[in-house]
Symmetry: C2
Subunit: 371 residues, 2 copies
DNA sequence: CTGAAAGCGCTAACAG
DNA sequence: CTGTTAGCGCTTTCAG
């Protein structure tokens, strides 16, 4: 069935503005004016047309309109992995903004699909009016394909030096620093970090800030206390944390480059029966939903995601209108959310507060025999 | 900037197939034929045109093409809440399938945005060629707006009786039954359930099947052992589970209508220091990523999501081509994945197996005093 | 204030 | 095999 088929009347053909014009006894141009709320239409005429429009439930042909106006009415969003909770969270926020603007949201996955390539093609063919990149690196094909300062592209949550587009992120360098200072201030002695691939700017910055502040505090990050996780998954965090926790002198504090890794790290401690926060502090980054759950109760950094998204969408729509405006790079501050994974008791509103430590000291029992 | 602006050459105008034709010394129609791989073009001519196409990096105008072909080249997907992990997981799978078909994926959120309404409007205006509904209920505005058997709509994961569209889901009734039988077979004495709003068909079916098999086993679900969660969130599950666990005779087994509720239930047990699985079994539904984490290690039902999505997408594309084909309702079987929340030790590949019970018997210590 | 008319860039008959 | 031609449904001058 063609798209038009959905709009067919009994006659078998979709109703066009021309048909409506005939029914209303006006010209097609007038119908078009009414549709677009063009002021130059007599109130009486407008009413008559509107009545017919409603009566026949007229639906303008989206393709014809885009064709004529050179506007797709859609914005593309490239995410890294839908399975990392921060991306759906961003999509939710972006979707809400775009809905309010009457724009469709087209989503591509850069990791599973070939999202980058699809996005640049869609943009160049006019399939979308602009693109929001949430997972861009210097190597992304997209940024080689489209790299003019006029291009309607905005980077959220990632910075790519030298790429001429609006960019919005949070102050990851500062977050890294504060994590280190928080550990030092909390009297932690053996401080470790689980990092990730350096292509992602937030990860790189968090790590750099962390190292910086640690060095400034007179106790640079020891090589054996640094683990690079393979991917940003719970599993990778768990594996990396196990490597750290099985050292002769295991760390008593781990800063993880994001929450997924941190949740994995907590589960590693749980698996080994290491008490948190007594024997180990864990700090993450992003404040994903799970971070607040009793099972983890993770201290983490919260980015003002809604504001960031709001800013990014506004910036993008603006550039679509005025391609020549100056490029802007905006950085937002993060908030350190302290929870039980570093010793504070948290009381989420509306929930029974969990008491005591997150994971208690205990000896794992013998495995239960199955069957 | 208009969409076309992205494609402008130095001249200031976007390059059209007409321009390419002139450069190649052929007619515009021939260029069009080459673009569409129409066989009726001499190899030599095709090559010449292709060379120019590549040379000038020609990009066909997407709007003009949709306009002409009556195809948007996009499929809409309506999800309930991006923050429930099953939806991003579905999107990931749907996106991969659509990418392979060269279709864009337009996403709407039915809960936060007014996704339903947007979707039906887009479909009727030809902004998308078809719609996948993953969160449809009998009350959804969408199904009143568009309800012809020819409409390119497919329901995934939800069934709506009487709605004339292809529908694919898994056998939730059977899952509910098996949960009950599993509890009974495991010698559970005080069996409870955390359900949800009855509008969602999978929830309704899981609950019905569970009650049915329990009754068949001679021990119908007691009213005080049934809690209806307010929403499908971790928080709602936690709250509902607390109500159950604080009863005089708390249940020793809880079946939750989905994993999010189950994860909340486990956290409720954790909060109260109730050992799992010794004092309590918990079973969920969906097998979300977190279910396999050591913190939860949740026994749950896995739906063959990839197959379901594959089937749904194929069905939808097929209906777009042949609107008059008979409606199909397809049901897939689920797999019960047994983990430690019901006493079995699980060994996820590549991870250190967690030993012993999930949550051990312990007395919560006094709260640590902050500051 | 309203109508007539000219396309937007592409696809698809139809001739040649 | 290739060119000519006729629109798709809408927006937007330009007259009146």
């Amino acid at each position: 069935m063609t798209a038009g088929a959905m709009r067919r009347q009994a006659t078998g053909r979709a109703l066009t503005s021309h048909d409506v014009a005939r029914m209303a006894g006006v010209s097609q141009a007038t119908v078009s004016r009414v549709l677009r709320d063009d002021p130059g239409v007599r109130a009486e005429t407008r009413e008559r047309v509107r009545r017919i429009l409603a009566e026949v439930d007229y639906q303008p042909n989206a393709a014809a309109r885009s064709f004529r106006t050179h506007r797709a009415g859609a914005i593309g969003v490239v995410v890294a992995r839908l399975s990392y909770q921060i991306y759906p969270a961003m999509l939710e926020l972006i979707g809400a903004r775009l809905d309010a603007l009457g724009q469709q949201m087209v989503v591509w996955d850069a990791e599973h699909g070939d999202g980058d390539r699809h996005a640049s093609r869609a943009l160049r063919q006019g399939g979308v009016d602009g693109v929001i990149l949430t997972a861009c690196t210097r190597e992304s094909p997209f940024i080689r394909d489209v790299c003019s300062p006029q291009a309607p592209v905005v980077l959220v949550n990632r910075a790519v030096d030298g790429y001429p587009s609006d960019q919005v992120s949070s102050d990851n360098l500062d977050g890294g620093r504060r994590a280190a200072e928080y550990f030092i201030g909390g009297g932690r002695q053996r401080i470790a970090m689980i990092g990730g691939v350096q292509q992602a700017s937030p990860i790189r910055d968090r790590e750099a800030g962390f190292r910086q502040a640690l060095a400034a505090g007179g106790r640079p990050l020891a090589a054996h206390y640094y683990q690079r996780a393979e991917g940003f998954t719970h599993r990778a965090g768990l594996a990396a944390a196990l490597r750290l926790l099985e050292l002769q002198a295991p760390p008593d504090a781990i800063f993880c480059a994001n929450d997924m890794l941190a949740l994995g790290a907590i589960d590693a401690a749980r698996t080994l029966g290491r008490p948190i926060p007594d024997a180990l502090w864990v700090v993450g980054y992003d404040d994903v939903e799970m971070a607040a759950w009793p099972a983890f109760d993770l201290t983490t950094f919260r980015q003002p995601m809604d504001e960031m998204i709001g800013y990014a969408v506004a910036r993008l729509m603006n550039r679509i209108e005025e391609p020549d405006r100056a490029i802007e790079h905006k950085t937002f501050a993060n908030e350190l959310v302290i929870r039980r994974s570093t010793g504070r008791r948290s009381v989420p509103v509306g929930e029974s507060p969990a008491a005591g430590p997150l994971i208690m000291r205990e000896t794992p029992e013998e495995e239960t025999k199955d069957e």
